[in-house]
């Protein structure tokens, strides 16, 4: 039953805050970190002790009740999310000394809700629960983005709320249609019955699903809202949006695609949609001067790349996708966390911040993260990118290959513009050094990037199994139905 903990404990944390508040000023903060650390350790322990690909299947009151599956691929996401949220929270322990959020108890509750819902999205194997976690993740994200209550933050929160609501409407329509026609919400049962549906209904459901999730996974042209949200929110919360929330939505979306919609044409459409999404995001990012917007566009570009990787529907390309996802999460976490400190110190969010920045440590780790995002060898980003390009070439999709390479080239323009600013010979601002804890957090993440880049074989077995589990629809169905 341990997979329940990943969802239940962070959600219950909210109810327990009055108790933790009794332990003094830092009670809630430390207990939140403690909770996340123990969840991370729990996921590690589950990973280490797992003998087969399946770790746990929980089905409560099937076929309409709750079903959770913790298999090789979901443990990957659970470990990643708990690790990243833990790192973020540790970082915040120092950040809050200078620039705390108002009413912190609420903030910690929201962060834990975000974690619980992201994990819930990954573990759920019935579409109604997916909808519930979709909403919980949405609500906590809306509030987090508006948390500072500045005009921009409020605008961001409102926009996020409206788009999120529209996404939910589409999703709920899709679910209603599915339930109406198939009488079940269980993913396995839906995937079995889906092919037998009338083609019009299938089309309508696919359309609703694509738009509902498309808004959340930030794919072109449904990603118009993203940059405003990133700009309005704090850099600290952007780290979670970019590294955790989007990844959870992406996983669920592709899980559903593999289960019900593995048509060749649709896949091809998603492939080119991803490539176009990447290309457009990178071109638009060229002229951005606001750093949060710039990295938001860069996130959109990377999501496009991930879209391509997952749409290929091959074990190798999914492996590539998981590597890219991992590298992107680590790198974006480093970048947004560093930006949170830098914004607070230098009081500007402009690209010229990097000219003023005077901190060799931050400079080096930001450069390493950016190079990893660009897919430079010996850093984490290269492994995934090479595997992806390889599997695209093997499928004979050379136009797609060209598009991705072009997008990468354009991406390098603005990354190297930023790196050039860091070497600018203009006068630097005040010297800035982070606290030891913050350094340790950033260093851990950066070392992760380097380690994966130099020795990808350390995790290659695990990721290869995860990707083969993710693509293997038949055994997923059997697993879920067997539990019933």
């Amino acid at each position: 039953m341990s997979s329940i903990y990943f969802i239940a404990l962070p959600l219950l944390f909210g109810f327990a805050t009055p108790i933790f508040a009794k332990f003094g000023k830092n009670g809630i903060a430390y207990s939140s970190v403690l909770l996340q650390a123990s969840l991370f350790l729990l996921s590690i322990q589950l990973f280490v002790t797992m003998d087969k690909s399946i770790i746990e299947v929980i089905a409560i009151a099937p076929p309409l009740g709750i079903a959770l599956i913790l298999d090789n691929v979901s443990i990957f996401f659970v470990m990643l999310f708990t690790f990243l949220v833990l790192m973020g929270s540790l970082y915040y322990l120092k950040l809050r000394e200078k620039n705390p959020y108002q009413n912190e108890a609420k903030f910690f509750i929201l962060i834990n809700m975000l974690l619980a819902s992201a994990i819930g999205l990954v573990l759920s194997s019935d579409i109604f629960n997916i909808y519930v976690f979709f909403e919980i993740a949405g609500i906590s994200a809306y509030i987090l983005s508006a948390y500072r209550k500045t005009p921009k933050a409020l605008e961001a929160g409102l926009k996020y709320l409206i788009t999120g609501a529209i996404a939910s409407i589409f999703l709920v329509f899709a679910i209603a249609l599915i339930y109406l026609h198939l009488g079940t919400l269980n993913l396995a049962l839906i995937s079995q019955g889906f092919t037998a549906l009338e083609s019009d209904i299938k089309l309508l459901i696919s359309l609703f699903l694509l738009i509902g999730f498309g808004l959340k996974v930030e794919i072109f042209p449904l990603n118009f809202w993203v940059t405003d949200i990133y700009e309005g929110s704090d850099a600290f919360t952007d780290a979670f949006f970019s590294a955790v929330v989007v990844k959870a939505y992406l996983f669920v979306f592709f899980h559903i695609v593999y289960l019900f919609l593995p048509h060749k044409e649709f896949t091809l459409f998603l492939l080119y949609l991803g490539a176009v999404s990447m290309l457009i995001a990178e071109i638009v990012a060229l002229r951005q001067t606001n750093l949060k917007r710039l990295f938001a566009y860069s996130s959109l570009g990377q999501v496009g790349l991930l879209f391509v990787a997952f749409s290929m529907q091959e074990a190798v390309s999914i492996t590539a996708g998981l590597y890219i996802l991992l590298a992107h999460s680590l790198a974006k976490m480093v970048i947004f966390l560093s930006l949170a400190s830098l914004f607070e110190k230098y009081k500007k969010e402009d690209i010229s911040l990097f000219k003023e920045m005077n901190s060799p440590f931050l400079r080096n780790i930001i450069i390493i993260s950016m190079l990893s995002l660009l897919g430079i060898p010996l850093l984490a980003g290269f492994v995934g990118k090479f595997l992806l390009l390889k599997s695209i070439a093997f499928s004979g999709l050379f136009v797609l290959l060209g598009l991705l390479v072009l997008a990468s080239l354009i991406e390098s323009v603005y990354y190297f513009k930023i790196i050039g600013f860091m070497f600018s010979k203009e006068e630097r601002g005040e010297k800035f050094s982070l606290s030891t804890l913050q350094r340790a957090v950033l260093l851990t993440l950066t070392l992760g990037i380097i380690l994966i880049g130099i020795a990808p074989f350390l995790i290659s077995d695990f990721i290869a199994t995860a990707s083969s589990v993710m693509i293997d629809v038949r055994s997923y169905q059997n697993l879920l139905l067997g539990a019933n």
Binding site: L215, W225, I280, V284, F386, S412, F416
Partner: protein
């Protein structure tokens, strides 16, 4: 730092020479990464040894020269130089395209960090964007080749290449040529090169010109001979195109060099021109001997010249020909060394440059490519102008500033590497076939005809031979005679204390009255129509237009993201309608 660096360089060179004959190989299977059956590895071979020798030697020379400057002058350079050299060794020793790409990218990025402190932001961005474009083209090419061959090893790549469709072959060849031409700085792709060379740390420019540009040549050799088989009939047009690109590069770069006033820019263009010769004969069957010979000589001579220039810039703090002059009396050693350097660069007998040019000419003649041969000769002879300008501008004529009259000879740390290289160049000049056996092992490895070899003094070619030792002896006799007469004349002349005042009648020359001849040398060529065209044209306008286009596209696409939620939902509706129509189809 620099001591460690020098030791490392020395160690790598010693290792290389002591294991010259030994074969060493190391392979790794990438099945762990999900790439089943893919093997990567490193292996020593004759070709890689020769290129590794160039790397190790240049590294050592640059390191020795660095002792001349103050302790922390080149700290960034020495932090990265060992890593850069390691990446270069990886490039030359690997037997597969994956490690080649890793080395290539590390080379580009590490060079970026070395260049970053000294370049202007614009030049820096230019450098890295070309480097990234090159790397991405290479990556795309590798992936396409991989999809045909299902392996990344060079030895299987040829088979994989033949499996590709004609169209893909063409795309692949274009991508790879682009990747390597950018590094070499072939004309049109040299936009980044001159600025980077001119603004880099003086010693790093030496390394850039001597070694990094050779990596492009190495890549071309591997790709064109191992993968494409350029000398076969199917690729005749491609080979001819490459030869024409090479020779065009040489001609244009030579004239650009003649116009330059800045020392390092002049040598940068000269570097482009010399690599142009190499590219030209690389495309010709029977030219491989000349390629290797010229690459070797060019590495040596560029080391010599750039270290010489670096020493002059360090000594006088001036980097333009129009600001220098008359240094022969103050720095006689440097003068003699530069003289040796330019004789080699110009390809004149009796020094080593003639031997390599001789191979270039004979291989072109042998292939009956007379038009290209005449263009190469034209460029080569025109090259005399800029090498003369170089030595005249710095050492001869009158000094242009008082401070030039009071400098001392350059530091001995600059002179030691230059003397070593000069000695090598003289030895190779007298014994031009000395290195032929080594080169022949490479030629055998590449499956091309070796250069005929009898004794080390006679360099043979299909069209005849020349005896370097005899030529050298004749020149030596004439030189001694001339020196004797000069000494006779000189002993009667009166030594003038202050040449500066005599030359300028006590006036101080300003930039408005540049009396130094080096300033305008070669400008009269303006009257020749096509040279004026070369001087006026620049690839800058093309790249600027490209940037502008990209930026305006960016501005337009930005309008998709209006920030106005209401109008944005139009996109959603359009998207939904599109999907619906597409789905109903």
């Amino acid at each position: 730092m620099r001591i460690i660096n020098t030791l490392l360089a020395f160690l790598s060179l010693a290792l290389l020479l002591s294991f010259w004959q030994d074969n060493f190989s190391f392979y790794v299977d990438l099945a762990l990464l999900g790439l089943h059956g893919v093997v990567v590895g490193v292996k020593t071979s004759a070709l890689s040894n020769v290129f590794a020798l160039l790397i190790g030697f240049s590294w050592l020379m640059v390191s020795i020269a660095s002792f001349a400057s103050k302790k922390n002058t080149h700290s960034t350079l020495f932090l990265w130089l060992p890593i850069l050299s390691l990446a270069l060794f990886l490039i030359v020793y690997t037997v597969d395209y994956l490690l080649f790409f890793v080395g290539w990218e590390v080379m580009s990025i590490v060079s970026y960090f070395i260049l970053a402190p000294t370049l202007t932001p614009k030049a820096l961005l230019k450098y890295i964007l070309f480097a990234m474009a090159s790397a991405l083209a290479l990556l795309m090419g590798i992936v396409i080749l991989y999809s045909g061959a299902e392996t990344l090893l060079y030895i299987d790549a040829n088979h994989g290449f033949t499996l590709l469709s004609q169209q893909m072959k063409m795309i692949l060849v274009l991508l790879m040529l682009f990747a390597f031409f950018v590094k070499i700085g072939a004309i049109g792709f040299h936009y980044w090169l001159v600025d980077s060379y001119a603004q880099a740390d003086d010693l790093f420019t030496t390394y850039l010109s001597a070694v990094l540009s050779k990596m492009g040549i190495y890549g071309l050799i591997i790709f064109l001979t191992q993968v494409v088989d350029i000398y076969s009939l199917d690729w005749k047009i491609l080979a001819y195109t490459i030869a024409i690109i090479g020779v065009t590069t040489s001609v244009i770069a030579t004239f650009k060099a003649i116009k330059e006033d800045e020392l390092k820019r002049l040598l940068a263009y000269s570097s482009i021109a010399q690599l142009g010769y190499i590219v030209t004969i690389l495309a010709i069957a029977g030219g491989m001997g000349g390629v290797l010979y010229h690459a070797l000589i060019h590495t040596l001579v560029k080391l010599l010249l750039f270290i010489n220039i670096a020493s002059i810039i360090a000594l006088t703090n001036r980097s333009k020909l129009s600001q220098l002059g008359g240094l022969i009396y103050r720095t006689p050693h440097s003068f003699v060394l530069l003289l040796i350097g330019i004789i080699v660069l110009a390809g004149m007998p009796p020094l080593a440059g003639f031997a390599s040019k001789y191979l270039v000419y004979t291989s072109l003649l042998d292939a009956k490519m007379l038009l290209i041969l005449s263009a190469v000769m034209f460029a080569s002879v025109s090259g005399f102008l800029y090498v003369y300008k170089l030595i005249y501008g710095i050492y001869l004529g009158h000094p242009t500033h008082k401070s030039l009259e009071s400098v001392d000879e350059v530091s001995k740390w600059y002179l030691i590497p230059q003397y070593i290289i000069a000695l090598l160049l003289v030895i190779i000049g007298a014994f031009p076939a000395l290195i032929v056996p080594t080169l022949n092992t490479v030629l055998v490895q590449l499956h091309v005809a070796p250069i005929p070899f009898e004794t080390s003094t006679i360099l043979e070619s299909p069209l005849g031979a020349y005896n370097g030792f005899v030529v050298m002896s004749a020149f030596a006799v004439i030189f001694v005679l001339v020196l004797f007469f000069v000494w006779r004349v000189k002993s009667k002349a009166k030594n003038v204390k202050n040449r500066f005042d005599i030359a300028y009648c006590g006036e101080e020359p300003t930039s408005a009255t540049p009396l130094h001849y080096g300033y305008g040398m070669g400008q009269e060529l303006q009257r020749v129509g096509f040279i004026a065209i070369i001087w006026k044209q620049s690839s800058a306008s093309f790249y600027n237009a490209l940037t502008l286009m990209l930026f305006s596209l960016s501005t337009r696409l930005r309008k998709v993201y209006t920030g106005n939620l209401a109008s944005n939902f139009n996109w959603l509706i359009i998207f939904a309608i599109f999907l619906l129509c597409w789905g109903l189809e």
